[in-house]
Symmetry: C2
């Protein structure tokens, strides 16, 4: 506990935006307040949980509060499908079904609600994952901002595929399925009218078919994670922590689109902490790295897949470092709190 | 389509509070907008859906937006557990696990959030249903009213128990597990400071053990439903519609606590349309009615179980009627729209 990292332990403390940002404040809120109350086991926080008594089934839930509702490359409806499909997939599972729960503000134009729901339906059909049940609540004006969407997904694990945030091993190759930073910068630019939104679009897309492409590699696939809130920095820090390993990245290898880099420069953001909704990292045994890259690149959503680093034997546990373009080496920290509110 | 029942078909129409009230407006919104977009099959809307490929597993989702967060007999945390446990149970299933997704307003005092989450955890433990995964989002002040909770549940059906809203049959006994009207009147009275809240308390409680008590009756249990939003009137109208039967109720047999009756008289509400969170209706074959009543009454949450009516052979399909105390007979309509906003 340091001055830059306050723990919410005073009774007069309040919830901060940063508590929901996927960084250190989020982890603290979960560890100090939520998990103890819910009997959390203190194990690795995975994207999806195993269903008790059904070890082949996984479950994941996510609420979507993105603002604005519509942005280049996506909208809250598609995002709600992709986000949960991807969380299920990151446990090595094929999504079987989704639930959808809408909380709608009184006065929302019905055409806007229709557009959200149609996009959600279209995304579910495109992902070939049925929406099997749902819930619709309406609350008074001002009690919710337009519409929030919760999706929960159930998936069935591919035989032999058992990835976990705790299973990265020294020597593993760290693969990334595509460029980073598009979703966060697009939503932020659209919301704030920064002008980048004509050059970039969210990468919102389902990743379960990329996972299926890796399934034949079985237990050589150690860890899968989609770097959403908190970006690549948060995802890799969580993996380094839960697997007790050191991860070394090659900055030169990490694909950052020019428009993302420009937007991040202007905003003072590190592309590594910007949310993504359509790429994933895969930690695979070194002998399987080339096969895995080929499998990823064979699909459109993985055609830009690259190797961005490795798990270094003997490095400090939980540490993520970056070999920069100028040959220096810097630590990639877990982001603290809210950089980009309501990005998903 | 009549003057009192507008269909949302104009592009300048907006979402109304009544669209989320569980009555006719909700049904119209679902049928005209949500279900077509999501490929809804147009079948009976059950409390929980079957998981594709796993016919013994059911899934249900619900968002909780109750205001105030705390009220006599319960709070949003316990309600979020009971509501989804009960929806899963109404498909004849034993709940296996819950997911919890919180949307929290920036500035909410942490002690208040802690109280909600602890209550949620305590309710899950008491119900013996683990919370296996979750999500926490924080949005800016004014973007949500304090905290909303989504829970999704997965359950495993009891062998031989296959209740459905479409399976009520002529001759069935209609059983009710306990008194009606407590939850809705308690929340409303607390929110509006009407003063009844010292005499009444929400019936928020889990019902899955009552369902387990009926499991030995197997296929003689035709329909189970917990009458939440829209109350007993909405639940029975849905069953009459989906099963294409006529239901006849005996007003004298329906237990309405005195304080509920007083509150409803004052507010001009019919207790039949007030939300409940701790009672259920069961449609059982006539030969099994006495056994079912005995089984329900053997549990504390079912000790006041009564027979309130029957499915009448040859009656008009979809019609629910009430034999009143004075010997008259009146139609129990599907409630139109919002009577008690944000009751769950």
């Amino acid at each position: 506990m340091t001055a830059v990292c306050p723990t919410p332990h005073h009774e007069d403390d309040v919830v901060l935006l940063g508590h929901g940002a996927g960084g250190r404040l989020t982890a603290e809120l979960l560890e100090s307040l939520v998990l103890p109350a819910l009997d959390g086991q203190g194990g690795p926080l995975e994207d999806a949980a195993l269903l008790p008594g059904h070890p082949d089934l996984v479950v994941s839930t996510d609420s979507f509060v993105v603002s604005p509702l519509f942005f280049p490359g996506g909208d809250i409806g598609g995002l709600a499908v992709h986000g949960t499909v991807n969380d299920v997939a990151m446990r090595g599972a094929r999504p079987l079904a989704l639930t959808v729960a809408l909380i709608v503000e009184e006065g929302l134009p019905l055409p806007e609600l229709r557009r959200v729901v149609r996009s959600l339906g279209a995304a579910a059909r495109a992902a070939e994952v049925p929406v099997i049940t749902g819930d619709t609540k309406v609350v008074g004006r001002g009690a919710v901002d337009r519409v929030f969407v919760n999706t929960t997904g159930v998936g069935q694990r591919h035989p032999g595929l058992r990835p976990s945030a705790a299973l990265a091993r020294p020597g593993d190759a760290v693969l990334l399925s595509g460029p980073i930073g598009l979703h966060g910068t697009t939503v932020l630019s659209t919301r704030e009218g920064l002008g980048f939104e004509s050059d970039i679009a969210s990468d919102s897309r389902p990743l379960h078919r990329l996972v299926a492409a890796l399934a034949p590699l079985g237990e050589q696939v150690h860890t899968l994670r989609d770097p959403t809130r908190g970006g690549l920095a948060a995802a890799l820090n969580e993996i380094a922590r839960d697997s007790r390993v050191a991860i070394d990245l090659d900055e030169d290898a990490i694909p950052v689109p020019d428009a993302v880099r420009s937007a991040c420069d202007l905003l003072g953001l590190d592309p590594l902490v910007v949310a993504n909704e359509g790429c994933m990292v895969a930690f695979v045994a070194p002998a399987a790295a080339d096969t895995a890259l080929t499998a990823l690149r064979a699909r459109p959503e993985g055609r830009d897949a690259v190797r961005i680093g490795e798990v270094v034997p003997g490095g400090p546990e939980g540490r993520v470092t970056l070999r920069t373009l100028v040959g220096a080496r810097r630590v990639v920290d877990m982001p603290l709190g809210e950089l980009l509110p309501r990005i998903c």
